[in-house]
């Protein structure tokens, strides 16, 4: 599952798609506390958050996340798209609540593991 798949599953809009083919989702973290995100020792995580701030992208870069989903349809600060680009972190904004995002992503990953379409 790549970032474009995530955007589709969550009825989201891609603000920055990233360069090249993009990395697959290997792990999912849903959190609004960036200090907690820093504790997760996993590569290529998909970060789902309600926090719409530059700090989310900076944290994502530090932990090597493969992408960021901002939930709740929050309008993003004008700086975020530019920072996503400069740090190379794909960014998607979705209208759904974080809870709903978790449910859909989990279902899609389970489907993928069973051999269905991503």
């Amino acid at each position: 599952m790549k970032i474009n798949d995530v955007a589709r599953i969550l009825d989201g809009t891609v603000c920055y798609a990233g360069e090249g083919p993009g990395r697959p989702v290997r792990h999912v973290v849903a959190s609004d506390l960036m200090s907690d995100v820093l504790l997760v020792d996993a590569d290529d995580m998909l970060l789902i958050t309600s926090l719409a701030s530059d700090q989310v992208l900076r944290t994502a870069q530090i932990v090597g996340a493969m992408g960021v989903v901002v939930a709740n349809g929050k309008p993003l600060p004008s700086t975020m798209a530019g920072i996503a680009r400069s740090l190379g972190i794909p960014l998607v904004t979705v209208p759904l609540a974080k809870y709903e995002c978790c449910v859909r992503v989990h279902a899609a990953r389970a489907e993928e593991q069973r051999g269905g379409a991503a």
């Binding site: 960036m34 200090s35 700090q55 530090i62």
Partner: protein
């Protein structure tokens, strides 16, 4: 008689107050003029507290005093509001509007206590000026009484007071910049050969740039093909230390050094320093207040996290002076002395 207004105007979520405004809501509101303000101005309005700008030279009356007295005070001193205070407690406020109504209604000789405004929005003296500015933007009042933690009336603040102090601080800031920055002592041991040294200034509460240094350090390490696991740990330490300095200190410098097989992230700040270093290094302990938390920071994990990811960790602090944290990392096991780390 009405009880003194007891809830602060910035009612946090834990204390539903008169205004019903949560600290988080106010924090989310844009600071008036914030988008176009120079960084140093933003830093100032975040750093300065209401007590730094308020007027403490208060003319007040007690509840028994006649409104006429309030009118005289206003005229003689060119003020637009008289707080009604007894034994330090604020009971209400008499404004020019109240006087006009009293004159029209023919009750100018009645006691202030009977006609004063009691539904007041008050500020707390340790609230940042940036927060207070949101109140000026939100409400039509020109001034706000200021209470301390003990709910004693300690001052009154108007937009004019804020402007006056900002102008003064800006002048000082310009003078400081003109005198130039001081260097940072990085303190390498004997025999160390330095391969890389990067210094990043960290400005207090500069959320726009917070984390940028850590991002750059990560890119530097990645470009030099450093082991990804070590890179991640260094990046996390740098980020935590940088954010810590940004949110909790008066600002400082983040330095990144690479010497023989070793990397070090040094965070040196200009205060306030801390008395109990051990307390600060424990999970969940934080000096962050509600409004910092509402912005997503202040969970109290910064120093403990840094300690966890570093190979060596050292922290020194002098209250009133500042704190220096050094997080050390072995870059490659078995790197020989004098040899550059593998590119």
């Amino acid at each position: 008689m009405a009880a003194p207004p007891d809830q602060p105007g910035h009612a946090s979520a834990a204390v539903p107050g008169d205004t019903g405004l949560a600290a988080a809501d106010l924090a989310a509101e844009p600071v008036p003029g914030g988008e176009s303000s120079p960084l140093v101005l933003l830093e100032m309005i975040h750093r300065l507290k209401v007590r730094d700008v308020m007027c403490t030279d208060l003319l007040t009356l007690d509840r028994q005093a006649p409104l006429k007295r309030a009118q005289e005070l206003m005229r003689a001193n060119n003020i637009s509001g008289v707080p009604i205070r007894e034994s330090g407690r604020l009971y209400g406020l008499v404004s020019i509007d109240d006087i006009i109504r009293a004159l029209e209604g023919g009750y100018i000789h009645e006691p202030c206590g009977r006609h004063m405004t009691t539904h007041l929005i008050v500020l707390e003296d340790d609230m940042p000026v940036s927060f207070a500015l949101r109140y000026f933007g939100r409400y039509k009042y020109g001034r706000f009484p200021v209470l301390n933690r003990g709910r004693t009336l300690v001052g009154i603040v108007s937009q004019r007071d804020i402007n006056r102090v900002l102008l003064r601080e800006l002048t000082r800031e310009v003078e400081r910049l003109e005198r130039g920055h001081k260097g940072v002592n990085v303190g390498l041991g004997e025999g160390d050969r330095l391969y890389m040294l990067c210094e990043y200034p960290v400005v207090k509460l500069d959320f726009e740039n917070a984390g940028k240094a850590a991002n750059e350090i990560k890119i530097l390490l990645r470009d030099r093909h450093t082991d990804p696991r070590v890179t991640r740990r260094i990046a996390v330490a740098a980020y935590e230390l940088e954010l810590n300095m940004c949110v909790h200190s008066n600002g400082g410098t983040l330095t990144f050094l690479v010497s023989n097989g070793r990397a070090e992230v040094v965070a040196k700040d200009n205060g306030p320093g801390m008395a109990d270093v051990e307390w600060a290094c424990r999970d969940g302990t934080s000096t962050a207040n509600d409004w910092i938390r509402s912005l997503g920071f202040g969970a109290g994990m910064g120093l403990p996290n840094t300690k966890r990811v570093s190979d060596t960790f050292e922290i020194r602090s002098t209250p009133g002076k500042g704190t220096t944290v050094r997080a050390g990392f072995a870059l490659q096991p078995g790197t020989r002395d004098g040899e550059a780390p593998p590119a």
